[in-house]
């Protein structure tokens, strides 16, 4: 690996100051499991890294009913996968985090890093999209919030400015009688990248009909995205097999897959429909049990 400079600021303000002072060519280092692979394999070595090692305020997960869930930028995928409240209330998120790489990767890699690296197949993205996540960002001009739906620009690209640091991911408390799920397809059981990933969240109203339904897709477009038409179609419907089948069919139509060495476009579209059906069914089951 080519040499680069290393900064370990002890606060967020200091981290932003380093980015401003040092200028282009910097990368934020949280877990490093993507950053170092990119540096070694693709030769995309940063000029300098700004490590979040000593920015302890970013290593917290917090949850309360009013404020919802907040996952700091330095929180590991493993901590999110095992967190009892996330598993119970935000099932799709813990599942997504538990599917990234091995335990070794999950102990270093972060949810924030998974989003900032913006792979179309990022396993944390569809779950956070269906649960209305908002990204909290700190930059030279202050703080701003970015809804996750507006965060991704293309493969490997986000709206984050060069002087901005992802601070945390915030997710509102899900309503009562709601549930979520994330499923993906990989040829191998472990240590693989999603050919298709599908997340679903469902909230039921007092009558037991669908109050809201969201489906988000990974690895079938240049970015992970919400299948908006599919979700809208279910509102007011009974959460039965006919509704589920219809929503899944529409979601497959919203997919924009490419053919590559991981699978053909037609196969991916088929997988979206199958996985959407299953994910919605699981989410409904969780909503009924909530």
């Amino acid at each position: 690996m080519r040499a680069f400079a290393y900064h370990a600021p002890s606060s967020l303000a200091e981290a932003v100051a380093v980015l401003e002072r040092e200028g282009p060519g910097g990368r934020i280092l949280a877990g490093g499991t993507d950053l170092l692979v990119q540096a070694k394999e693709r030769g995309s070595v940063p000029r300098y890294v700004v490590s979040l090692r000593d920015v302890h305020e970013l290593s917290r997960v917090s949850f309360d009913e009013a404020g919802g869930l907040e996952i700091g930028a330095r929180v590991s995928l493993g901590e999110v996968a095992d967190h009892p409240e996330i598993r119970r209330r935000f099932s799709a998120i813990s599942t997504g985090a538990s599917l990234v790489g091995s335990y070794q990767i999950q102990n270093r890699g972060t949810v924030g890093g998974n989003l900032c690296n913006a792979a179309p197949s990022a396993d944390c993205a569809p779950p956070l999209l269906v649960l209305d996540a908002v990204i909290d960002v700190h930059g030279a001009t202050g703080r701003r919030e970015i809804p996750l739906v507006d965060f991704f620009v293309g493969p490997g690209r986000t709206v984050l400015g060069a002087d901005e640091v992802l601070v945390s991911i915030r997710v509102p408390s899900p309503p009562s009688k709601s549930g979520s799920a994330y499923l993906r397809h990989t040829p191998r059981q472990e240590m693989d990248i999603a050919v298709v990933g599908v997340a679903a969240s469902v909230a039921l109203d007092a009558r037991g009909d669908v109050a809201s339904l969201r489906v988000a897709l990974g690895a079938v477009g240049p970015t992970p995205f919400l299948a908006r038409e599919a979700g809208a179609r279910a509102v007011g419907q009974a959460p039965d097999d006919a509704t589920i089948a219809e929503v899944a069919r529409i979601a497959a139509g919203e997919a924009r897959p490419i053919s590559d060495q991981r699978g053909s476009a037609a196969w991916r579209r088929h997988l979206v429909e199958v996985l959407a059906r299953r994910a919605i069914k699981i989410a409904i089951g969780r909503a009924l049990a909530a």
């Binding site: 490590s51 493993g78 091995s102 270093r108 472990e190």
Partner: protein, 156 residues
């Protein structure tokens, strides 16, 4: 960028690592302090040969920058036996023939140690999941899984 000093507790001893900031923990362990039990396989976090325990959790030392371990505890394969007694996991790998060429073994053993630390009674599925990030290209996995099962029984 000048070299820097990183303070870490490695296998129970305080170390001052004098390292370039772009060097990995794997390079620091092998080249700076001569702990060559940790192996490099792929260098990109896929094979797990370089697995060490960082504050008790398995990580790929090839994907951790050396400066990131400041103030932390690192356990390598050299650090799990006590005096002349092998760790029960090491003992079980020997007795069950859970290795052939040996390159994956230090990483396998440390993933198994971490698993048994947090789950002393793992199922076979949990064992296979725990070593999903450790690739073996010669023995195959059955004897390794058996060794971990035997180590779990022995530790009870």
């Amino acid at each position: 960028m000048p070299r820097m000093i990183v303070n870490a507790r490695i296998n129970g001893e305080e170390h001052e690592l004098f390292t370039d900031p772009h060097r990995t923990l794997l390079e620091a362990l092998r080249d700076t302090i001569g702990l060559t039990g940790t192996k490099e396989g792929c260098g990109t976090g896929d094979c797990g040969a370089c697995t060490v325990l960082l504050d008790g959790s398995p990580v790929n030392a090839c994907l951790v920058l050396a400066p990131e371990v400041e103030g932390k505890e690192v356990i390598t394969i050299e650090g799990i036996a006590t005096d002349n007694t092998l760790h029960p996991v090491q003992e079980a790998f020997v007795n069950e023939g859970g290795l052939q060429c040996g390159i994956c073994t230090p990483g396998m053993v440390l993933s198994a140690v971490a698993l048994l630390d947090r789950n002393p009674t793992p199922t076979e599925t949990e064992i296979r999941y725990a070593i999903a990030g450790n690739l073996c290209r010669c023995t195959g996995y059955d004897k390794i899984v058996r060794a971990i099962e035997v180590a779990a029984e022995a530790s009870r």
